[in-house]
Amino acid sequence: MGWFAKYFPNAVTMKSEFIQATGETLYMTAITAIIAGVIGMAIGIGLIVTQPGGILENRIVYNILDKFVNLFRSIPFVILLAIIAPVTRLIVGTAIGTTAAIVPLVIGSAPFYARQIQNALAEVDRGVIEAAESVGSGPIAIIFRVYLKEGLADIIRSSVLTLISLIDLTAMAGAIGGGGLGNLAVNIGYNQFQIDVIFLAMLIILVIVFIIQLVGDWLARRVDHTA
């Protein structure tokens, strides 16, 4: 490991910090992915079924969901972090720390995911939905047995995209003491001119992104039977 000490003179002494930061990034990503995943999925499905011509067409519900998604998607995440602090304090008890960072992360990523899900499900052929209706399927059956099943490959691809952008957001969440690799890179690497720390943090994030992309692509290919 001589070369490592040579090229990463500061990072090599920070093994435990890096392990902790990586753990924090993965923790924020995983918990947010689960919560924002459920919320985003629900909103995305809600948008698809209530849209004009949808199986549960409802102009009011559709417009509310649509405006909500647009609103939260247009707030820059750094500003959202600050604005949302009182809400975070209400839910988590504190506005600082890794767990506290999850609240803005969810609010920042769920609307994005909802839009991704909506786009993925919009690809499901309207004729297939009609065929399901013609054999007597109700809305619940159509959502779970047609939309989610037929749209699965696209849902996986959108989820990968969302996960990767979520990792991007966790790096920013370090700004409010959220910890993680982003925090490490900025607070130690950038502020103390330890370029190798920034570089290593970036490498670790790249590896995580690559793994998510590879697994996601493999899964999507497995469930895709369109060709």
Binding site: D125, G127, V128, E130, A131, A132, E133, S134, V135, G136, S137, G138, A141, R145, V146, K149, E150, L152, A153, V223, D224, H225, T226, A227
Partner: protein, 354 residues
């Protein structure tokens, strides 16, 4: 064929409002389909055929009118009751509408999910349905691996999963080549015979109707302009559109076009007349041409001939040039008419020709 009505549409209106524009897709249409019928609904695209048949299973809610299927008032049903009613009305589509993420067996199994059957009963049923449409060996394939005709067979098996009494076919053969079309129509006819399935067949091709239907309705701009049993419609069409559809199906239009193009070479005059003879049923067998020569010394030169067998009734069409003395020709035509043969005098449209 019994005379018990299984589908009764009365005074159906379907009006769409779109961006301030009002489109009357279906206007005041009534239609009765009897149990065991294969009822053809023919019309060009945009005539309102698909909209009309979607009213049968309420995929399309009519603006006005009443819908009775199997004695049930379809428009009065709750959404739960409607779903149950729909299981007894199968439907197949132009683009098959199979689920690409499911295997063939799983596609056929789809309508049975959430039903009363156990897993093994369902597997048995799916195997039986695949056997019925001749696709047993494709059970584990995915739709993307199948040809168009095979996909439509899967769609038929799926539509039959809940043992419906009615099958609606919405342009089901329009995306298929002629050979595959015939095979699918054959299958529908077989299902009609073997299962007593009532079929409503929408198409823009009279050929498809000719193959299997016993009744036919012709639609134009939202209205049924002509209807009746197949042989009557084919032998005595009244509306221009109906005639057009039939002449295309029997290829008389194409033949006439060719004949007219070289009309000058026929040398038509008082002694040479171009006529179309049409006969239905038994008259087909009489040696007409010989008879005309023997009795009136009229020589008939056959330019085009076609015999269709509709519902076991032969329907013949001949385009001939009859040559003879003008008064003998008249007598010959009278003879034909007395024998129940319809004569149409054809006038080539080219100027400068008789």
């Amino acid at each position: 064929m019994t005379n018990e009505a299984i589908i009764q549409l009365k005074d159906i209106d379907v009006t769409f409002h779109n961006k301030g524009q009002t489109v009357e897709a279906v206007k005041q249409v009534s239609l009765t389909v009897n149990r065991g019928d294969i009822y053809g609904v023919v019309g060009y695209s945009g005539a309102g055929k698909s909209t009309l048949v979607r009213v049968i299973n309420r995929l399309q809610k009519p603006t006005a009118g009443s819908v009775e299927v199997n004695g049930q008032d379809i428009l009065a049903l709750s959404s739960h009751e409607l779903r149950t009613a729909r299981t007894k009305i199968g439907m197949i589509f132009q683009h098959f509408n199979l689920m690409n993420s499911r295997t063939i067996a799983d596609n056929v199994d789809y309508p049975l999910k959430g039903g009363k059957l156990s897993r093994s009963e369902r597997q048995e049923k799916v195997a039986h349905l695949l056997d019925l449409v001749g696709l047993t060996e494709k059970a584990t394939d995915y739709p993307a691996q199948l040809s168009g005709g095979q996909k439509q067979r899967v769609a038929i098996a799926r539509a039959l999963a809940n043992d419906p009494e009615i099958l609606i076919s919405d342009e089901a053969t329009s995306a298929l080549d002629p050979k595959t079309t015939s095979a699918i129509l054959e299958l529908l006819k077989r299902l009609n015979k073997e299962l007593g399935l009532t079929v409503v067949l929408i198409t823009h091709e009279m050929e498809a109707v000719k193959e299997i239907c016993n009744k036919v309705a012709v639609m134009e701009s939202g209205e049924i302009i002509e209807r009746g049993d197949l042989v009557t419609i084919f032998s005595q069409p009244k509306q221009p559109l109906t005639k057009d559809f039939i002449n295309t199906a029997t290829q008389i239009n194409q033949a006439l076009e060719k004949i007219y193009r070289q009309a000058s070479t026929l040398g038509l005059d008082d002694h040479h007349q171009l006529v179309q003879l049409q006969y239905v049923g038994a008259t087909t067998d009489a040696p007409l041409i010989t008879e005309l020569y023997k009795r009136y010394e009229v020589v008939s030169n056959i330019l085009y001939g076609n015999v269709e067998i509709l519902q076991d009734t032969p329907l013949g069409n001949l385009i001939v040039v009859m040559t003879g003395e003008p008064d003998k020709l008249k007598a010959a035509w009278q003879y034909c008419q007395d024998a129940g043969i319809t004569i149409t005098h054809l006038k080539p449209k080219k100027p400068g020709v008789a």
